[in-house]
């Protein structure tokens, strides 16, 4: 954060925190989990001119370039939404396509243009939509299980309206989180708009019959099992790849503290 030290350090600190908060809204398209919680984002630097650099990495050198591109693009969009930001530079590191991704996103190219030398097909919107659908299904499973736990029977669950969903008192933070995440994607996809709209519907907006809820849940479960495989692998691989955090090699960054990567020994003042 060399340049930022020239101006008000409190402002730089505040802006850095704003960037981190925005990044918390960026999810890995496939895992539907925030890239900050997955440990992908390494560091954030802001300068006086409103430039933001976001260093990030992925669990392996081989992670799909189209996913990497999506993440880099989503990072750029999320950070650019802050009013004081003039320019964003996502910087993918330690990846087979790092150069092409960084250059492409920086220049505002589409994925196909950034990888023109390999004659790639299609755009990323189809892929993005596939994974948003899966994210909806995964979040719905978590919500339905939370509703069951709260004592609702199948008939009550499928009859839940958006206003009912908002009014339920959940006993656990997990259930609260499940509601928040489900509600966000339900509204994002336009599946429920008004308080009286049905809140538990299929990914295409179709109503679900009480008698069909069990079979519906089995389908949701399969989606979750798939996504969990990737999540578990990604976390394990990222940790295995970068486990050599060495506090002696330099000061831990804000990212290290936020992601709980700093052992107590390093966190204590010397």
């Amino acid at each position: 954060m060399g340049a930022s030290e020239a101006h008000d350090p409190r402002l730089a600190q505040a802006r850095t925190e704003q960037v981190w908060a925005r990044l918390g809204e960026v999810t890995d398209p496939e895992l539907d989990e925030p890239v900050t919680e997955l440990g992908f984002v390494e560091d954030v630097a802001v300068d006086e001119a409103g430039g933001v650099a976001v260093g990030f990495r992925l669990p392996t050198y081989w992670c799909s370039p189209n996913f990497a591109y999506l993440i880099a693009d989503d990072i750029a969009r999320a950070v650019r939404a802050l009013p004081w930001v003039a320019a964003v530079r996502p910087e993918l590191r330690d990846h087979m396509s790092a150069e092409a991704v960084n250059r492409g996103v920086g220049a505002g190219l589409g994925f196909a243009a950034a990888f023109a030398e390999f004659a790639v097909e299609g755009d990323l919107d189809g892929l993005r939509e596939t994974f948003r659908r899966k994210a909806f299904q995964r979040r719905q499973e978590a919500l339905v299980l939370a509703l069951r736990q709260a004592g609702l029977d199948d008939a009550a669950i499928v009859a839940t309206r958006l206003c009912d969903l908002d009014a339920i008192t959940f006993a656990t933070p997990e259930a609260e989180r499940a509601r928040r995440r489900y509600r966000a994607i339900l509204v994002e996809r336009g599946l429920a708009r008004r308080p009286g709209d049905a809140a538990v519907v299929s990914v295409d907006g179709a109503p679900i019959a009480a008698a069909g809820l069990k079979a519906h849940l089995q389908g949701l479960r399969s989606v979750r099992i798939n996504m969990e495989a990737n999540g578990a692998l990604c976390r394990g691989l990222l940790e295995a790849r970068y486990r050599d955090f060495d506090p002696a090699a330099g000061e831990p960054t804000l990212a290290d503290f936020m992601l709980d990567r700093v052992p107590p020994r390093a966190a204590a003042p010397a």
């Binding site: 496939e30 390999f118 004659a119 299609g122 479960r221 495989a229 394990g236 295995a240």
Partner: protein
């Protein structure tokens, strides 16, 4: 041979093993380094701590060590050793059929050596399939559709050149087509785990068996759906199985999906040696029970009979191994070795 706590013998065929050289001396470029580093990350991330190897040993190990880990310390009776070339990354290839065959010759009756081909080689690929059949008598191949070649970053089983290769395999009796559908190298713009091409070729090549390695794990639902419809599609457990240690409940969910959709006759055990070693995997699999609620959800049973099928009998059927004859052969050899 795995011996249960009650003294029963279980015949084990390890459906997926490698004898590789990923050492720095053999690496051609940064990709070669990153490839073995990625394998090593899988190894360290999913192995129990006391099963982890030092890095240099993992990069390159001897045939003696492999034999020991699989058959002496490990419970395998036989192992299918796959060939993976990766010639863009490794000077002498990663694990070639010649290297595998040399080891198999040294340890008779233990290894089933599988070949590999790249349909992008055109006519040369067809010649190579003939060569492998004549020289090594292969009954199977391992296909790595994500392998790089020049500016190509992968191929599909449904490519016209791939069809010609598969036609030849069917004609020559190379009937077991292992397809890598899982992690590691990923084609540039494709969904890396897309299993749709398996669906097409399985329909068109009824005389071939398609063993989808890693069960297309992150696309387990698609894989299961295909396996239900195609009687010649099998699932290899490599990569899914180590979750038995780190996330047993999750492994139970995966296993119950496979048992429900794919069925106990079409699932194959594989350690993915040297990413993992078979001893702990077989021990845990044999002693594994699916929690009651998950079992009830899918109505599946994980009985000793099912475990025997997965651990060896299914692979024996695919590769024409007469289990009783093989056991007798191995017993004689063990006695002979002890007498020496």
């Amino acid at each position: 041979m795995y011996k249960t706590a009650t003294g029963e013998e279980v015949f084990v065929i390890d459906g997926h093993t490698h004898f590789w050289d990923g050492s720095p001396e053999n690496q051609s470029n940064i990709h070669g380094k990153q490839f073995i580093d990625c394998f090593y990350a899988y190894h360290t991330a999913l192995s129990p701590p006391d099963m982890r190897w030092p890095k240099d040993q993992f990069e390159k190990y001897s045939a003696e060590k492999m034999y020991h880990d699989l058959f002496v310390d490990g419970p395998d009776d036989m192992a299918i050793v796959q060939s993976t070339y990766l010639t863009e990354f490794y000077k002498n290839g990663f694990n070639t059929i010649e290297r595998n065959a040399e080891m198999a010759k040294r340890y008779q009756n233990r290894f089933i050596v599988n070949g590999a081909f790249d349909p992008r080689d055109g006519e040369k690929a067809l010649e190579y399939i003939h060569y492998m059949k004549e020289t090594f008598g292969i009954k199977g191949v391992k296909l790595y559709t994500a392998e790089w070649k020049g500016s190509s970053r992968g191929w599909k089983l449904t490519d016209p050149d791939a069809y010609r290769c598969l036609e030849l395999c069917e004609k020559l009796g190379i009937t077991n087509i292992h397809v890598h559908k899982g992690p590691t190298i990923i084609p540039l713009d494709k969904d890396a785990f897309d299993v749709a091409d398996v669906d097409h070729v399985a329909t068109d090549f009824q005389g071939l068996n398609f063993i989808v390695e890693h069960c297309g794990l992150p696309r387990l639902d698609d894989f299961c759906w295909i396996a239900v419809q195609e009687t010649n599609v099998y699932g290899g457990l490599a990569v899914a199985l180590p979750f038995i240690h780190s996330r047993p409940r999750y492994f139970a969910e995966v296993l119950s999906e496979l048992l429900f959709w794919v069925g106990p006759d079409k699932i194959l055990f594989g350690s993915d040696y040297a990413i993992w070693t078979p001893r702990w995997l077989v021990e845990r699999l044999w002693n594994f029970e699916i929690p009651e609620d998950i079992r009830a959800e899918r109505g599946v049973e994980f009985t000793e009979e099912v475990k025997r099928k997965i651990l060896g009998l299914n692979a024996a059927r695919l590769y024409g191994v007469d289990v009783e004859a093989q056991k007798a052969k191995l017993r004689t050899e063990t006695v002979a070795a002890a007498a020496e």
